[in-house]
Symmetry: C2
Subunit: 293 residues, 2 copies
Amino acid sequence: MNSASSNLTNNATAASGAVSPTAGAPATPAATAASTPVASVNTTTAAVSAPAATASPTFSPLYQQIKALITQSLQSGEWKPGELIPSEVELAGRFKVSQGTVRKAIDELAAENLVMRRQGKGTFVSTHHEARAHFRFLRLVPDEGVPHYPESKFIEVKRVRAPADVARLMDLKSGDAVIFIKRVQYFDGVPTIVEELWLPGLIFKGLTAERLVEYKGPMYGLFETEFGTRMIRASEQIRAVCADAGAAQLLNIDLGTPLLSSERVSFTYGDKPVELRRGLYLTSRHHYQNELS
Amino acid sequence: MNSASSNLTNNATAASGAVSPTAGAPATPAATAASTPVASVNTTTAAVSAPAATASPTFSPLYQQIKALITQSLQSGEWKPGELIPSEVELAGRFKVSQGTVRKAIDELAAENLVMRRQGKGTFVSTHHEARAHFRFLRLVPDEGVPHYPESKFIEVKRVRAPADVARLMDLKSGDAVIFIKRVQYFDGVPTIVEELWLPGLIFKGLTAERLVEYKGPMYGLFETEFGTRMIRASEQIRAVCADAGAAQLLNIDLGTPLLSSERVSFTYGDKPVELRRGLYLTSRHHYQNELS
DNA sequence: GAGTGGTCTAGACCACCCG
DNA sequence: GGGTGGTCTAGACCACTCG
């Protein structure tokens, strides 16, 4: 057994045979802990199939490998949303790398909102149960006054077979079981959003109208705690359309009123699509806010 | 004179009187270069008015101060868009800090798209004259086919006095001189965007219809090279509206066709607003693409 | 006071680019 | 071959939190 438990490929540090710990590369924790010669941790250990040339064809920095390992633990549920993950020092020990390397890995995870750092306390798994997170995916804000979360009224919740277009966007087969949800959202009692959602039936088995109704707060929070599926990012396409009869009735507006149409695909770990959402937004007293940078 | 040229406040490194370079904090470059005692660089030097307590009330990391200094040089035009800035090692020497600190400052500038790093070559000031940058502020992409840049036809270019609403959004006084531009943009010959722009007259003095017409490529490129004003970020508000007579005629569509309305304020260094842009987008064959993360 | 993340330094080596 | 950014390490100290 070498390099204890993990199969990391260290593409850095000397490629010139066994080196004494004092010269060249400094002694790695692995070397001191398991008294393994430095050379054994070097130049391709495992994981990636790399012909032992001077430059690895598939170069991946150590911190990226650490990042992938941490992401795996997040995905597997070893550390659940809202929980504290091990400290940087502890992770460094576990992975046999320096704290700085772990730090860089966590830096990127924090930048991607997978994790949240709090000085003096530790690093926490991000969760949708938070004021901060509520408006990450809801960009419709009132023209005047402070943003707040709308109330939901569910129109329909049923199990259906995925239409071809839905299946294509969600990486399913046409006819696969999906859960269909239709709801209207109200800001201060004014109906403003009519929304249709499709979710993979396999993952969201057991999602019923009752559970949706009794649950207060963002749906992504419910998905996260009840179904272990966390939305990481989303891709949205926006258009202007005219209200059809259905939308007009639900939003209590005239037929033909211009509405903002949004089609969103949300992804969980591994860029796996797990939600398709089609919304119509009434933008007479609200607008879609976007920051370009 | 101490700490040579710059007024950096080092809030780190020992607060316990003069320390020999070998113990405690390692000798700083400043100390070795100007043979200044370490203590002189510590506990409040200048810049920030800090009562000499144990913890500075206005704590600012060194790398943030470096970042601010680099940003100043960008803003002042010391390093122009597209140019190479000094290497990390050189900047470290200039500011009397370690390369790691400069590195962290530049990391943030790169994340904000103010500069671009290229391994083996150096760090470059970002520019709007680049394929990469072209679609950072243009989010309207075709439903099918690859995104490409539209052609412009200018309808109107004139000097006017800023209306109250425009002045408010641009941080001007009502009645201040502004340049008003109206244009239509075509994708593959199809009129798709009608846009009105307001620019501060003071900054964009000398901007004429001729210069706009003869200039090929994104307007932000022209603004950057001809007027020394670089757009850094923008804030956009999006709505759905109906085409009025003017828009319908210019876009060759029926009156009442739903259009996407965008109001955008763009900012340059120091979060100073320097452009107001109001656009109407025809979204029958294009959509506004947005990534949520 | 102990533990956590945050800053700063110094030095080594690697990947990449260009003359 | 020399210069640039990119990675990795090690160690010191600071700011913050909590018991």
